[in-house]
Symmetry: C2
C-alpha cells in the first residue's frame, strides 16, 4: 500500500518570454554578482545583455567569468572561484548549458566554503555554505537548473564525477525559450535527447517513486512530439523542449541518472561525443534490455512516448543524427573493453534491480552503433 515517496525542489521556477526582466527583483540575491558563462551562447542568445541590464538598473555590480567549456574540469571551477574572490561576489548567476550551470554550482561552493583543491572530489559536507545561485539555462537538456548536481570532469579518474549537495539547488531558475533560438540545431537535438534520457532512466531507477515516475511520463510526453517534429524538419516548440527538459531535471533530482549516463560518459570522455548524443544512441538498446526484466515500466515509457516498441525510438534517433550529418564510428573491441570497465565502475549502474554483465554492456554499446 505504501508509496515511500520523497520529493524536494527548493528551486523556484519561472518561464516565459522576458522572465529575466520580469522577475528581476526576485533574483537579486546579493550585493555583488559573479556571472558564469561559456564562450558564446550567453552573448548570442541575448541572455547576458538582459541580465546585465537588470543588474545595471539596480546598481548591483558584477564580474563575468566566461571561461566554461563543455565537460568542465576543476581547473575551470577554481579559475571562476578566483575571479569571484577578487571582487567579493556573494551570489552567482549561471547563464548557459549544463556545463555552465554545473560549474557555477561548484564555484558557488568553492568560494563560500573555501574548498581546498585536493578535497574537491571528496564530496560536499552537508554543513558547507554555498553562494545562492540563479540558473538561466540556454539548452534544453541538462535539467541542472532544478537539480542538486554539478557534473565535473575528473581527469585522474578519466570520467565525469557527480559533485552534489542539497545546497546546490539554484534558488531561482529562469527559462526563456527565446534564448534557444540562437542554439545550433545539433546542440538543440543533442540536449533534448539528454533530457529524454533523464526521464527514461529516472523511471527505471530503484530510487523512483510514483511521483517521480508521473513527472517522468509528463516529461517524455512533452519531449517526444518535439523530437518527432525535429526529425520531420517541421516547427519545433522550444518552450516545450525547455519545459520538458526542466521536468526531466526534477526527475533526476529525485532518482539520479543510470546506466545510459554511465555508458555515455566514456563515449564523451574518449571519443568526444556530445553528452546528449552519447545518451541518445544508447537509449533504444537500453529500453530493449530493460524490457526483459521491467516489462510494465517499459510499457509505461513507450505509452508516454507514443511508441509501440523500442526499435521505433532507434529509428527516430537515427533520423535525428542523420539530419545533423553525424557519423557514428563504432567503438573497437579494445575500446569497448575500456568503456565497459569504466561504466560498470560507476555507482549509478547499481540503481537498478538488474546489474548488466560486462558482455551485456558491450552489446548495448554495439546496438547504438
Amino acid at each position: 500500500m505504501d508509496t515511500n515517496l520523497h520529493f524536494t525542489l527548493p528551486t523556484e521556477v519561472f518561464s516565459g518570454r522576458g522572465c529575466v526582466a520580469k522577475q528581476a527583483q526576485r533574483w537579486m540575491l546579493g550585493r555583488h554578482a559573479l556571472i558564469v558563462t561559456g564562450k558564446t551562447s550567453a552573448r548570442l542568445s541575448g541572455a547576458l545583455d538582459d541580465v546585465c541590464a537588470c543588474l545595471d538598473a539596480r546598481q548591483i555590480p558584477y564580474v563575468t567569468y566566461e571561461g566554461i567549456s563543455a565537460n568542465p574540469d576543476e581547473t575551470q571551477v577554481y579559475a571562476g572561484a578566483a575571479v569571484a574572490r577578487t571582487r567579493g561576489c556573494d551570489f552567482v548567476i549561471a547563464i548557459g548549458g549544463g556545463s555552465v550551470l554545473d560549474a557555477a554550482k561548484s564555484i558557488a561552493w568553492v568560494v563560500a566554503s573555501d574548498v581546498p583543491r585536493e578535497a574537491f572530489f571528496n564530496g560536499v559536507p552537508a554543513t558547507d555554505p554555498v553562494l545562492p545561485i540563479v540558473a538561466i539555462p540556454l539548452t534544453c537538456g541538462t535539467g541542472s537548473e532544478v537539480t542538486q548536481y554539478s557534473i565535473i570532469t575528473d581527469h585522474e579518474a578519466k570520467t565525469k564525477k557527480n559533485v552534489s549537495s542539497a545546497a546546490f539547488f539554484p534558488t531561482i531558475a529562469l527559462l526563456d525559450a527565446h534564448y534557444l533560438t540562437s542554439l545550433p540545431k545539433d546542440v538543440l537535438c543533442d540536449t533534448a535527447l539528454d533530457a529524454l534520457s533523464h526521464a527514461i532512466e529516472g523511471i527505471y531507477s530503484l530510487k523512483a517513486d510514483c511521483f517521480s515516475r508521473a513527472l517522468a511520463e509528463t516529461a517524455i510526453g512533452v519531449l517526444m512530439p518535439e523530437l518527432v517534429r525535429m526529425a520531420h524538419g517541421t516547427f519545433v516548440n522550444l518552450a516545450q523542449l525547455q519545459y520538458g527538459s526542466m521536468v526531466a531535471g526534477m526527475v533526476i533530482a529525485q532518482t539520479g541518472t543510470g546506466l545510459v549516463h554511465a555508458m555515455g560518459y566514456p563515449l564523451t570522455y574518449y571519443k568526444g561525443m556530445p553528452h546528449g548524443r552519447a545518451n541518445g544512441v544508447l537509449l533504444a538498446g537500453y529500453l530493449t534490455f530493460m524490457q526483459a526484466t521491467c516489462a510494465s515500466l517499459t510499457e509505461r515509457i513507450l505509452a508516454a512516448a507514443g511508441l509501440s516498441m523500442p526499435e521505433e525510438l532507434q529509428a527516430l534517433v537515427d533520423t535525428l543524427l542523420d539530419i545533423q550529418g553525424c557519423f557514428r564510428e563504432a567503438p573497437t573491441e579494445e575500446e569497448l573493453e575500456v568503456f565497459t570497465g569504466d561504466s560498470l565502475r560507476l555507482e549509478v549502474v547499481r540503481r537498478y534491480r538488474t546489474l548488466p554483465s560486462p558482455e551485456e554492456v558491450k552489446d548495448l554499446y554495439r546496438m547504438g552503433f
Copy 2:
C-alpha cells in the same frame, strides 16, 4: 510558444509507513515544539504518539494544543498562539486534517510576528517571520501540507478567509497512510472529494500553466480509481488517496481554488455541510458549466478521470453520498440568494475566463441538490 510557468514548492515531502520515525532527525526544526492537533484523530491514528516518542528520544520539550475544530476561527488561532508563547516554542508540528494544518500555519505566524488580533485578516506582510512548520496530514483532502494557505473562518465576513504567505509552506510534510486507517469512512470520502475538486478547479484557473495542469491530471488519475473503489465498497488504497491529495495540493499552491470552493463555503458556513462534501456535490455541475466555454480542458479532465461525461461524476458522487447515508437538503430560494451573493463576492471566482452570472450560480447550486 511561451509557457509562462511558475512553480514553487519549498516543502520537502516524505511518504511511507513509519516516515515520522524514519525522518525524525530532519524534522527537529527547533528546540521547543508546539504540537497542534484537533480533538481526537491525532491520538486515534497513533500519529501523536509517534511524534512524541521521537521528541522524547531527542529530549526536545513540547507542549500540545488540542483545541482545533473543523473550520477554525481566529479565536482558536490566538488560543494556540498563547500556549506557544507561555513555553517559548520555536517550531510547530501540525497533526491533523486541513483545519489543524491551516490553523497551525496562522499560529506559527501570530507567534513569530506578534500579530495584533485586529490585523489578523489584513494579510501577511512578506517580511513577517513565521515559525518553521512540520505538517502531518491525517486526512486526504486538504493538500495544506504543501500549500501556503491557511483558511480561517471570519465570523464577521460570514465566510472562510484565505490567510496566506510564502512562509506558510511547511518545511517538511510527512505522509503516513497508516494514520488514515482510523479515519471515519465519511471523512475519508469527503476529503477525497475535496482533493478531486482542487485538481479540477486548478485545471481551469487562469493561473494554471502546463506544469500545474500536468500535476492536476496526475492527481485526478490517482484519486478517481480510489473514489470508484470507494463507491463499489471494495479495497481503497489509502496511500494513493494521500498521494493524490498531496499532488492536488501542489496544484492549488500554484493556481488557488475557484468557483466550486467559493460556492462550497456558504454550504459549510450556513448549512454545516463538511467542506469536501460541499465541493463534491457541486463538481459535476461545474464541469458541465465549464464545458461550454472550456471544451478542451474539460476533455482533459474527463480523460484523466476515465469518464466520458460530467453526468458520470454526478452519479459517482451520488453513490458515495448514499453510502454515507448523507441526506442533502436542497437550499431554499432565499438561501440560494444569500449563498450566491456570498460566493460571487469572493475574489477566487475571478480566476476564470468566464465569470458566472448570479442566475448561473443558482443553477449550479440546484444541480448539486
